[in-house]
Subunit: 435 residues, 2 copies
Amino acid sequence: MRATVTGFEVHDIRFPTSERLDGSDAMNPDPDYSAAYLVLHTSDGSAGYGFCFTIGRGNEVVAAGIDALRPYVVGRPVPCTAADLAAVHRAVTHDSQLRWLGPEKGVMHMAAGAVVNAAWDLAARRAGAPVWRYLSGMTPEELVALVDFRYLSDALTPDEALDILRAAEPGRAERTRKLLREGYPAYTSSPGWLGYDDAKLVRLAERAVADGFRQIKLKVGADLDEDVRRLRLARKTVGPDIRIAVDANQRWDVGEALRWLAVLAPYDPYWIEEPTSPDDVLGHAAVRAGQPVRVATGEHVANRVVFKQLLQAGAVDFVQIDAARVAGVNENLAILLLAAKFGVPVCPHAGGVGLCELVQHLAMFDYVAVSGSREDRVVEYVDHLHEHFTDPAVVVAGRYRAPGAPGFSARMRPESVAAHTYPDGPVWQTPKHPS
Amino acid sequence: MRATVTGFEVHDIRFPTSERLDGSDAMNPDPDYSAAYLVLHTSDGSAGYGFCFTIGRGNEVVAAGIDALRPYVVGRPVPCTAADLAAVHRAVTHDSQLRWLGPEKGVMHMAAGAVVNAAWDLAARRAGAPVWRYLSGMTPEELVALVDFRYLSDALTPDEALDILRAAEPGRAERTRKLLREGYPAYTSSPGWLGYDDAKLVRLAERAVADGFRQIKLKVGADLDEDVRRLRLARKTVGPDIRIAVDANQRWDVGEALRWLAVLAPYDPYWIEEPTSPDDVLGHAAVRAGQPVRVATGEHVANRVVFKQLLQAGAVDFVQIDAARVAGVNENLAILLLAAKFGVPVCPHAGGVGLCELVQHLAMFDYVAVSGSREDRVVEYVDHLHEHFTDPAVVVAGRYRAPGAPGFSARMRPESVAAHTYPDGPVWQTPKHPS
């Protein structure tokens, strides 16, 4: 008899990161990194884990969104195949009543992503494979069947997707070996948070270079003179050969972005990330066309339809997928295929709570089975909160090691869950955290 | 001493509309029209009302989103001026942690809209004016200060907005008189729900014409032959002089829309509404450029940034604002100004629960103080659920009468709230409504 999903626990987990200004940027001055965390249990004793990342307040709203999807999971057979995982994705994104709350954006879409990713974690754990290998073991036909092509066919048809995947098939084994040997390049954003003083910036930038990173990232967008000063300081610290990306976190209008970047460009920023609203496809295209710095975006892009347009409009040089904002592995597969079709490299967003853990799998799968390339590709890395995961991402000499443990690296340590449960966990009982 | 907001009640209200297939379309086959309903109370005994419209499941998630905004309202002074209402809008849309859950889209943005609209309802009630007149009494400077121009300035600057409003100022009094005398043109979608049989379609279409409507709307997109048949039947019923708009409710990809519309176009549909994803600016532009039927969209457009692009890209012939999806009156004012700048008429979406009640105020204000025109403009009307409101929209001879009661017409009857509270209200206790 086939096992069924019997348990669906939703936890509101928050870390008091605002105390040290980790994660501070021009739009998000004091985040408390948080996760609406989902645990699935099965009738035969296995479990799967998934989550949404938030920055504090409202984490309970996302938890409510996940909870609304319970009927699509509990009591149903455990997903074991690509077809099962396509069905889970379809069920949680196509409920006509819940779709009204997006469609396919915001809280309900993030919630759908947590459920889809938990299903992938569960299926991969049961198959004994890390998600990147589990995905890389699927046929092109199985992979194409995972994707919802609705609203994509003017840019990417199922047949074109099949062609992309088939073209990459012969090299899968060789690239898997290379990945296991060499890992996947990372860059670090740890030095560049806006709330850090110069000494901390310099110390962390030096450490990043010493640790083998070839790219760092600085937050910009609050004060132009300060940005120039910090960019020069960082350049002086890391030397000419290390890439320095900058990230405005949606701070600018189009005209402001152009004026600001005209001043920053001579300091050779590698890319400008989120120069304006993540919804503004035409705005990104104008920013890319109007100044020399390469444009990257994606961590707040709501869904595959907006990514499609960013590519159609020639608005981005780098596609920054996020593992936990869109509807999970399935929708990110759609985005990887779109990027491959348009020949734009994918450089995933990470950091937060567990985003490094998740997205490394998608980048590695992209290398093995979709784009087939690590050229111009790099996964963000931020060195915090990994200790709360049972299978933390491992970055050595500036490269992510290929995860070996089964699943999506999505499981939090039970003691971390207990300690950081909001508002009743012990971490939130001290007078330091009055909110 | 200035009065403060002391009460913030959130209600989950659902109507079992799926029983009769009212509201059924190609994407939403069985909606239970619902509202996450907010009641504000003040220290001096007044009250304000606002809500999000949903179609059933997930209404509790939106209610949780509204609840997350409680700290921005309760204990604060009652909003009494344009500046106060600008501050409320800013507070609920700029919380950096909550913004992460959109940004500015989906559940949290709808929730922000409910709070903003409740603040407007409250302020207008206290001023003794219906919202359309309350707004029409503000100076151009006050109105401009209500708008968040972030991400808009490449298409509309505050100075340009001021010019638009000043140009309309001299005619305000005359247009107010005309509005009070003549009302505002409506069209009806009541005949065209996809779940209705031919006899009901014909009967309701005949009634619409007899009632004085000059435009009706049919849902399309499920079956092309059926759509042609129903369009011919409707045309035969209403004659050549009544406009028949069609609405695909996002059912198509771009290519499908073009193929489908090539077949429908000879039957002279007045516009095609939501031909594809509401996020697909470039897709709408391609649909508009590729066939002769005028394009309308907006009820699911997430925010002013997407409306901006629809206008920049020449993607729409009609802008369909929705009173309860974006962040309330303030953001809809931004959208009205954008539409005026680009010279595109606004034809608001309504129906649902209370959307006619709200949006009539915005259309009338647009006529009096923004676009200054009713030309090519028409507000949707659907004849259901009005009986649950204390100041229901009144449509006579195919025209909305200008509301006279103070506020935003947003208050539900207390007995309706009690009866339809989900899941504990009496309406949901009968075996007919097992969900």
